[in-house]
Every structure is written in C-alpha cells, then in structure tokens.
Amino acid sequence: MNKSKHYLLPDISQPGKIGCRLPELDVPAVELPPRELLRQELALPEVSETELVRYFTSLSRRNYGVDTGFYPLGSCTMKYNPKWHENIARFPGFQEIHPCQPVDTVPGALQLMYELQELLAEITGMNAASLAPMAGAQGELAGLLMVKAYHRSRGENRRRKILVPDSAHGTNPATATMCGFEVNTIPSNGDGNLDLVSLTRLMNEDIAALTLTMPTTLGLFDPQIAEISNIVHEKGGLLIGDGANLNSLLGKVKFGDLGFDCVQLNLHKTFSTPHGGGGPGAGPVCVKSNLADFLPSPVVSKDKREYQFAKPSASIGRLGAAYGNFGVMVKAYAYIRSLGAEGLKEVSENAVLNANYIKEKLKPYYHLPYDRTCLHEVVFSGNKQKAKGVTTLDIAKRILDYGFHPPTIYFPQVVEEAIMIEPTETESKETLDAFIKAMIEIAGEVDKEPELLHNAPHSTPVRRLDEVNAARKPNLRWKMR
C-alpha cells in the first residue's frame, strides 16, 4: 500500500514552508549584538506539519518494534512495556519540572527517587544505590570508578587491573579501559562457567576487581559463584556485577547474597522501560556498605519526612548535569510497584521457562554448545549450518522473512557463529511455538534451498545492505544550503 520512493527531508523541503508557527514578539525589539556574533545563514529544511507527520509516520512503518512482534534479541531483554507507564511518565508533575527548582517544590519527584533507590537495593540485596548513571555502560563506569576510589582510599594504588571473563559484554572491558585499568581476560571452561583455575592463577594483589555478568552472557548461572567471590575477596579484590541480565533472577536471588560488592542495573531492560530505538536508558548502581560512600552524586536522602539531594562523602562525583534519567526512573518505579515481590518472581520464572522451552525445542536443529539448563536466554551456534555454507548472518536475515526480529548474533564471541535468543516473560507459548516452527523450517531450508538464506531477507523494506561499503566510504549526512 505504501509504494514510496526513497526521500529525505531536503527532498521535501521548500523555501517558505513551516512545520510550526511561532508567536509574534510581544515586547519591543532591541538591537542585535555585533555582527560577528551573528550567523549568516541557517540551512535547515522547510516542511509543513502535514509533510512532517507523513514522513515520520512512514519511517515508523519501516521499523520493527516489540509492539510489531517477537523480538528475541539476546542480552537486550526486549520485553513488552506496559502502556500505561508511558502515560505516567508524561504527567506534567513529572515531565514539566526543572532540575534546578528548589527541592521543596518537587517533593514527589524526590520521594519517587528515594523509594526507587530503596526498592532497587532491596531487589539486589545491597545496602545503597545511586540512580545517577544514564545507561548500563555508565553504571559500569560508576562501578569501576568506585573500585578505583575504594582502593585508593585504602592506599592500594597498585591495583591497576580488572579481570574480565571472555564472554563478557563489550562494555565491560571498554569501561575498564576508560577507568585507566588494564584488562585481563579470564577464559570460560567447557561448561560455559568461569575457569576457576585461571581465575585463581590470575587473581592477585594487582587486581582491583573481577567484573562478572550474572547470569552470564551465555544465559547461564555460574554455580561456582561462592568460590569465585571467595577467591576475589581473599586477595582483596572486589566483585563487580553486570546486572543487565537481572531479569532472570528478579524476586528469586539477590546479588548481595552472591558476594557482589556492586552491581549496575539496566532499568530499560529488566524494569520494562521501552528502549526507544536505542535509549534513553538508566543504569543505577547498587552497592554494599563498603562502597556506599563512593557512590556517584547525587543520591536522595531522607531526613524525617524531608527528602534532599546529597553527595556521598567520598563520591566519585557527578556523571551528568542533573540526576540521571528521571523519565526512565518513573517507569521503572511504576513497574516495580505494579508487580510487587510475587510479580517480580513470576517475571523471572516465566522468562527462564520460555528460554528453556526454546532451548529444548531447537536443540535437535541447531548446535547447543552448553547443553544445560539456561536462565533467561539460550545461546546456540550456527556451526552445523556454517559447515553447509550458510552463516549465522544468513539465518538471522532469513528470520526477518518469517516476521520475527532476529536474535543477537556473533555474541558472545566465545561461541562461534553465536545465535543468542532471549524470549522474555512477556511472550506467550503460542508465539514461541510459531518462532520455533520458523527456526526449524529455516534449518530445513539450509539443506534444501541455501540460496534462499544467502539472499535473505526478501520481504523487508530494503534487502540486505552493504555494510562494508558503508564503512569504507562513509556517507554520514546530507548537505543542503
């Protein structure tokens, strides 16, 4: 129905059009400042509101979201987001408040933040929290800066290394570097767990911390967690959690109990705020008492019935110009309040059930490198298919033709041709069955019609895109005058 030619804003721009009219000046005009301060020309497109709306509406129709269908992007927890929480976040009393207003004009906002800190601390079994980080990676940054400050405060300046498992998300090693640490990689063992031998060998007084994703990016719970914690702590290191996969432990297991000193959470995953096509997110950090004084600033404190912003005594400082992504906090708070303890537990249980169901159903067709119970996600390998000349990329693109978003691919890097499927708890058995059926059909196509996969996708608004050329000859913007 939408046979549309490709066009961009400059193509529909015409001098004299306007998308939004502004009032006339209602005060006397004054002289403009000296000419050298003034801009000569401003070449922005000019379009009417009609054309604007049609253009962006048509873009939206060329995009796939959770509301369009199943989105089993591993590690990303693409769950359905309760619609009403969107409205709550738009209440004028939440959206139309200025960060520099006197705090006693925004007690509701501070109460919400304070309670969210408390709720997250309880959910993770930690002692304190700061909501300042604006995404998971910034939460990681906060964590490792706290590690640094902590050791410094104890005079242990020689701890300049961070241990990172080989299965870790890219943000883990990248964050370590940003914090001036050297990264030592620890391999996984044959079961997909951390190789304890290596850990023991590498762990020493130069190590500031081990960053551990739990459950791991292989979707597995590492049963050696108590030993790992011991090994790290015995040598004076800290155990820092990447809590991006908390969705599988919600209401069941507490990070604090597992020995973690700090964990960052991805509110935009576990706590059901939509991803927005790549953000905004929020990455609060929860810590044990030993790190509480180092938390990023500000935190909200409560004194009698008064809420205040406070700077922890040895804070690593601010991570942003305000208090973190408040709009995202509102939705996460709404989510926790709507579920309660029992509801959170149902979330993780169903997320895990769904992942294991897919695992069992697809195991006969795709290589399963770690054949054990998984938690929120399952990682297959496209090795079998690769041997027949069909790559994981081909499979992913073919999945699009079946009306599903593809899983995460080629991550974690420890699994060759990885296919990482995270169904989440908001999907029904019917949906999983339909996806499983498609995956099985695709496995059949690999044998019978491999060309179908090499040329996939066939039914998307564009066919397979040339990424190599995009990188080689970057075209990163249009120009107009």
């Binding site: 003034l38 959910i123 940003m178 597995l220 303890a341 066919r463």
Partner: protein, 434 residues
C-alpha cells in the same frame, strides 16, 4: 490473579515444563546454589493499573509543574516550546519499542531518522560530522575531553572558568579514571600552554554571556591545542555556529530541541567534530549505503570504534544512548526549519533583553555585566537570592538560579519564548515589591 504482562497460562507452563522434561520451574534454577535461592523480598504489595495511576498521579501533583508556574530558570536545561507533533511521532510504537538498530533491514525507520539527525545537527552547528548522540551535554563534554586526550596523547585539559560548573565536575569524574586533570582557566589569559589536550569554552557561557570564541580558537590552535565548544543549540538560530569559529569538537545539551525539561533527564548529548577525527569519535554513527538491489538504505557504521567490536580498545564504553530524544530533536529541527529556529532565538533574545532592561531599572536591582548575552543574564539582588526565589514561588513564579557563590547576590535568570510579556512584567513587579 494472572498478570496482563505474562501471557503464559498455568496450562502453558505445565505443557512447557513437560516438553522441557522438568518437574517444576524451580528445577530450572538448579544451577543457583540452594542457599541463594528463594530468599524473601520486602517490597510493597502489587498495585493494579487503577491503583498505580491514582498513587502516582497524587505523587506527581506534589511537584510544582512548569505548566502551572512561570519559569525563569535555565542554567543548562531550558523551558522551550515543544511542538505537539513531536509526541505523536515519538509515540509511534514501532520506533519507541525498538532496540538499537543492529538489524538494519528491520530498522530502516530509526536508522534513517538518525541519519537525518546527524545531518540536521551538522547543518545547525556547521560541523562536519555528528554521531547519533550521547547521554547528555555534560557527559558529551567529558567524552570530548577524553577524545582530545586520545588524539593528542596529552593528559591535561583546560576549561574556562565560565563553563557550567556541573559540566566541569562531570569532566572531572570522567577524567579521574585515566588520571586526566582538569585545569580551570580564567577568561582573560593571553597565552595558552601546549601541554593541554584541549581548551573547552562554553558559548554563551554559564552566566549567559558571549565569549570571545574566535580569540580562544586562535590561542588554542596556535598552541597545538584542540578547541572544544559547548554551545546552546537554540542560540544557533541567530548566532555563529561552532563550525564557523573554529571548533574541532562541539558538544551541547540537546534537550532544548523539542524535549521537556523532565527534571534533567533524559537529555541528549550532541556530539560533533571535524571529519578527520571520525575514528576517535565515541558513540554510534549511521551511514548511508545501498542494498543488493541498489536501493538506498542505512546501517550502523564505523563500528570498529565501538565497545562491542573493539572491547578494551574502544573509543568509549557507550552503548545505549538517547535515541528517542534524538528523534525528538530531529522532528523539532525539521518542524522549526530555517525560519522557525531563527524566530525562537529572536524571541528569546528580545524578551530576555526586555526583562533585563526592566529589572535593571528597578531601584534595588542591577545587571552584573554589560557583556552581550542571549537569553540568560545575572541580576544582582538586594538580598540573598535564595530568599527572593522563595518569595517568587508564592506568586507562582519559579525564579532564577542562585549563583551567589559566583557573583555576590547574583541570580541567573533565563527568559525564553515561553515567557509572555505579561509574565515578565509580573516578575518585574513582584521583584520590585519584595
């Protein structure tokens, strides 16, 4: 009662467990050592949508919203007009319920929108390239400083003392990991040491006044130091863009472009630089390419800079950014267009000057500087501004920012197109009467 967000029924769960060959869901958690399992969580009881709505509505009503107050507060977050059309577009669920567009063929809508964003930001700033956005203005500034250090191989950063102090603090946080030191320079220096990786200037500055950016650019470049500008995107409707005064990197808080103040978050870190620095840039970048049939299309590109490919050698750890806020900024710039953005800037300029003049005529108030300014300026109050701000609240006015730690009895006022003449006159009358 079942949850509306968990569609599996008891029968579904039973059937799935059967197929898995597990006796219970608990069995699936067998890898979790028993002592860690099924601990208690002390959380408030669940609320239905009806209850949640009432409770959160009540909470929200405790806050004094800008819908009901006249606001003269700026200082980095601005109460500008947000065209209604924006919410309708960011509310398209195909866009806001999507992830970062890793699978290009299923994400052309978002990718093309980001390409528009990058282009519009370049047009606005006069800079050569833009990424897809960072967390906020301050972290973008901090990342710019780190990037300058990477490019130059130096570890000292010079920041003008007139830069937003909160931004300096964030740079400090970001720099601390790599032992990068932030030096505060008073505006009147005549020479710049070559030890600095970069010189960071805010235009207009934190107190609202225009800096001599051309001079700073000259000094910086003369010393082999990169020149980084922090700008106000709305000001660019009327004033020189960073690309024209020699910025190597230019960053900004993008919230004013079509987003509510939202208690300071989510914001948007605009990040632009010269083309030659592409490989050192942090963040996501979208590029235009073609599909196998030759149709144009868009993909994430230059990913070898990024953490998911480059890991510990990445230019930054940033992953999730502020895509939806960037989308709002895209729609804003398109809706305003050439003449609209200029008009917004003009309205701000003239109204702010109208207010400044009227206040300066009051007996007990004065302006603390006669420099040129855009929409913010500092007023010297007869008493500590904190007290004045309290009294203004009673008149349904959110006054300026107390900057008495920087300027004696100084209050930083901001006037935008949202402030009607009536509001400004009211402010002046009330100030006079206090």
């Amino acid at each position: 009662m079942p949850s509306p967000y968990i569609p599996n029924t008891d029968q579904d769960r039973a059937a799935m467990l059967r197929d898995i060959g597990a006796g219970s869901i608990d069995e699936l958690f067998q890898d979790v050592p028993a002592q860690f399992r099924d601990v208690t969580f002390d959380l408030p009881p669940p609320l239905t949508e009806l209850e949640l709505r009432e409770e959160l509505y009540r909470l929200s009503r405790q806050n004094a919203s800008l819908d009901d107050y006249a606001c003269f507060l700026g200082a980095g977050y601005y109460h500008h007009f947000v065209p209604g059309v924006i919410g309708h577009i960011t509310g398209r669920s195909e866009l806001y319920t999507a992830y970062t567009p890793y699978q290009a063929e299923a994400s052309q809508g978002i990718l093309q929108a980001i390409y528009e964003y990058q282009s519009l930001v370049c047009q606005l700033t006069g800079m050569e390239i833009s990424n897809a956005g960072m967390y906020d203005g301050s972290s973008a500034a901090a990342e710019a400083a780190l990037m300058a250090c990477r490019i130059t191989g130096k570890k000292e950063v010079a920041v003008l003392s007139t830069v937003n102090p909160v931004y300096r603090e964030v740079m400090g946080t970001y720099g601390s990991g790599q032992d990068i030191t932030i030096h505060e320079l008073k505006p009147d220096f005549e020479e710049l040491s070559g030890k600095y990786a970069c010189l960071i200037v805010q235009q207009p500055n934190f107190l609202g006044y225009f800096e001599e950016v051309a001079r700073y650019a000259r000094l910086a470049h003369g010393a082999g130091v990169l020149f980084i500008a922090i700008f106000d995107p709305i000001s660019l409707g009327l004033f020189q863009p960073p690309g024209s005064y020699g910025a190597d990197i230019a960053v900004a808080e993008g919230q004013p472009l079509g987003n509510p103040v939202s208690f300071g978050g989510p914001g948007l870190g605009i990040f632009t630089c010269r083309k030659e620095h592409l490989r050192q840039m942090p963040g996501r970048i979208v590029g235009r390419t073609t599909d196998v049939e030759g149709q144009p299309g868009y993909v994430l590109t230059a990913a070898t800079r990024e953490q998911h490919i480059r890991r510990e050698r990445a230019t930054s750890n940033i992953c999730t950014n502020e895509a939806l806020v960037a989308l709002a900024a895209t729609v804003y710039l398109a809706a305003m267009g050439r003449s609209g953005l200029r008009r917004v800037a003009e309205l701000c300029y003239h109204k702010a000057h109208y207010a400044a003049k009227a206040i300066s005529k009051l007996k007990r108030y004065s302006l603390t500087s006669d420099q040129s300014f855009f929409k913010e300026f500092v007023v010297r109050c007869p008493t500590p501004p904190g007290k004045i701000i309290r009294l203004l609240l009673e008149e349904k006015i959110i006054g300026g920012l107390d900057v008495s730690h920087l300027v004696a009895n100084g209050m930083l006022l901001c006037v935008t197109e949202m402030n009607s003449r009536q509001e400004i006159d009211h402010l002046v009358t009330v100030l006079e009467a206090l």
